[in-house]
Symmetry: C2
Subunit: 139 residues, 2 copies
């Protein structure tokens, strides 16, 4: 795929927020840790804010905070917020006269559903609190 790293960046950004809980973090600070542009962070955290995962405060001394405790934010929440497409893409146009082609959409959708049904619970098992624990253990 055009290998998008939104999920990785989102998890990283949220880990920063879960780590620095004293005050809001600015997109500039987070961008420094991720090594990207502050606007990229604002775009991603904007999606997460719309999903209710983070909250933004405007003005000086503003920035982003987690909207709820880190233990209540799972990677499934992050995935759902930032990754709109599924794992695989289907083709929209096929040869309608071919009996095989006619069944492919349904067959592949079933496969993708079964895969997602395995992936989402796995993502749900990891929370931001787990990630902070990992960082604290090593640091």
């Amino acid at each position: 795929m055009a290998a998008n790293s939104r999920f990785a960046v989102a998890v990283h950004a949220l880990a920063v927020l879960a780590w620095h809980t004293q005050a809001p973090c600015s997109s500039r600070e987070i961008a420094a840790s991720v090594a990207t542009n502050a606007v990229v962070i604002r775009r991603l955290l904007g999606q997460l804010a719309r999903a209710g995962v983070v909250e933004a405060s405007y003005g000086a001394r503003g920035g982003f905070r987690l909207a709820r405790p880190a233990a209540k934010i799972s990677l499934r929440d992050v995935y759902a917020a930032v990754e709109e497409g599924g794992f695989f893409a289907l083709r929209e146009t096929l040869n309608d006269k071919c009996p095989i082609a006619c069944r492919m959409k349904s067959i592949l959708n079933d496969v993708f559903s079964r895969v997602e049904a395995k992936v989402l619970p796995e993502l749900k098992r990891t929370t931001l609190a787990d990630i902070v624990d990992d960082i604290e253990t090593v640091a």
Copy 2:
């Protein structure tokens, strides 16, 4: 088009091969069912040939055949052959001075490993024979 459809096209192409077992199928015939260009099919089936999933025969009346019975070819085999990258991408450059950034690569790799460990067995459960069964049932 970041979401690549190689997996979907590969499964479709293999379903055609599993359906027409009498003689080799040409890339042109398969492309007609998938509604794409024959070269696209040859590229994909080339990967699958290198993985030992299909066999190509040259010359007139040539084309592609499955290298083993459809029941012995799982979607995991297809996935492994055509999808080189994982589900998510990591960032290669981070801020080495940030303790959070330093742990992210390891943390995300763990997450991705756990996800793959759920996905691959699920893909393994479906074979081309299952897909042919589905098509036969409806057709």
